[in-house]
Subunit: 314 residues, 2 copies
């Protein structure tokens, strides 16, 4: 029985090892991912984005519960460093999550936000592919969603839920400038707090300003009490067919392109190091830059010449 068979059969231990090996770029793991690839594409991938403290994790937890009640299997990829799924949260949250730890229908994987340069969305893409091939019907990606690679990670999802809370004032502005464009559904969580109506109103006004776009719905929840969760599940599910169908084509291609570029970048970085090794690698060039003996562009040229002998770009 191959590793791919094991993973497709739902063996969590084999899958966890595969994910780790993919992160380490073990060649055999990449071969396994290739075998799994034709069996992916069945999962509905939902991005859950919001700043720390917005209550994303509690909402994810509620969604897991709702999906499990429908008999659906759920995979979770936590990219948020403050997420209890990532082990970064306060004790209460972590205890709350434990109830899923023994449920074979739930698989949770957390990813560090600071590994090698630019590799976060590659890792996330790999994990989503594995969960997909394992037959998880719903995959939640939990991200903070402020930085650029966060936005790339969000682009791995079929649909993006952006979560905010009332009373942060500036936060609505931050959403406007950043994550608002990627939101298919907006959630104002903790609506039992002061300022909830204003937050909802502000968001709706902003959304209405964009021409030729059907505004994303703004939902209200109190995740800790489960209020509004059913409506959120409904909103997510009602978009599934469109997201997986023809409407989702463009998105899938964009995602595939980003994934490809990530892998390519990683490979090229390794290759550059290998070819520069005789002269001290990138570190030697960096030392030249630091000493102002060489500018970064000249150093990049030198590295390029080592990689592409005789064929430097114009």
């Amino acid at each position: 029985m191959t590793v791919a068979d094991r993973v497709r059969g739902g063996e969590q231990v084999a899958a966890a090892r595969l994910m780790r090996d993919l992160d380490d770029r073990v060649p055999a793991a990449i071969e396994t991912l290739r075998e799994l690839w034709p069996h992916t594409g069945g999962a509905y991938v939902v991005g859950m984005t919001g700043s720390p403290g917005a209550g994303k994790s509690t909402l994810c937890d509620s969604l897991i519960g709702a999906y499990r009640a429908r008999g659906l299997r759920v995979g979770v990829v936590a990219v948020d460093p403050s997420s209890p799924f990532s082990g970064g949260a306060i004790l209460g949250d972590r205890i709350r999550m434990q109830r899923h730890a023994t449920d074979a229908g739930v698989f949770i994987r957390s990813l560090a936000t600071r590994g090698h340069l630019g590799g976060l969305s590659r890792s996330t893409g790999d994990v989503v592919a594995v969960l997909d091939a394992m037959g998880y019907e719903r995959i939640l990606i939990e991200t903070v969603g402020v930085g650029q690679d966060e936005v790339e990670v969000a682009s791995l999802a079929h649909i993006s839920v952006v979560i905010t809370v009332p009373g942060l004032g500036d936060d609505v502005q931050a959403l406007k400038a950043g994550t608002l464009e990627i939101a298919d559904i907006l959630v104002v969580n903790k609506v039992d707090r002061e300022g909830a109506d204003r937050a909802v109103h502000d968001l709706e006004s902003m959304l209405s300003l964009r021409p030729h776009v059907t505004p994303a719905p703004v939902l209200k929840t109190v995740a800790l009490q489960g209020t509004g969760v059913a409506a959120l599940v409904e909103a997510i599910e009602s978009r599934r067919e469109a997201a997986l169908g023809a409407d989702g084509e463009v998105r899938v291609r964009r995602r595939s392109r980003a994934q490809l570029l990530e892998i390519l970048r990683d490979r090229l970085a390794v290759e550059v190091e290998r070819r520069l090794a005789p002269t001290g690698g990138l570190d030697a060039l960096a030392a030249q830059i630091a000493a102002r003996r060489m500018d970064p562009y000249a150093a990049a040229d030198a590295a390029l010449r080592a990689l592409l002998p005789g064929g430097r770009p114009a």
Copy 2:
């Protein structure tokens, strides 16, 4: 008079055009940056990191004022999409900033957080270099500091100031998991709010847990009223010599390496597109992946073969 001369002479219009051209990778602009490179290294670069609503921009504004009072010229690079410097803030903030707009001793440049893949820290590095060559003695980089590229951007600074506010609870946890390690100075802003003492205490306890490291100081400010700003300036300035001297060597090399890698990645991506153009470029490969006819790793291999004919890595 060359563009480099103009920029070194402090011509803001020439500098702004150069920055834009660098972003567009205009070859002549890169040549100019090369000419400027030997004249960089004099500025003290200060990272200002914190979540939206923490009051970073108000603090930056206060710092600009304090430095101007000392006769120092200040450059600002705003990477935070919610920053009033980036044009993303509420009206009051933007009006407040205006007072620097006519001051020739202040240069403000904002950068979008979502350009091409992974290019943010390259752009920021370029802008810092130009400001440095222009003779700005202090350069502030304002970032949100959650995502991975944010951390890379922060690494461009000689010193990192991390700003938080009381009462967000989870935020302290987010700091713990993320930006806390990069902080040379911590600021709890809005200490007139409830929970300020607890926030300061929590931060200090966390910092004391790290062995073999002198804990970063935790300062208290009310930026809007100017409270604590003098102490912050003092804390930043007292670290200047060490940061620019031998202590900063490692940091400078790490920064140079990151900068080099960014440029190299950009160049290689362009080169890959060029070589793949006859077969439809990366888009054609992405379409194959999306249709599950090819996995992303096989597609990356195909692209690599096009780039490095006859010399595919082992």
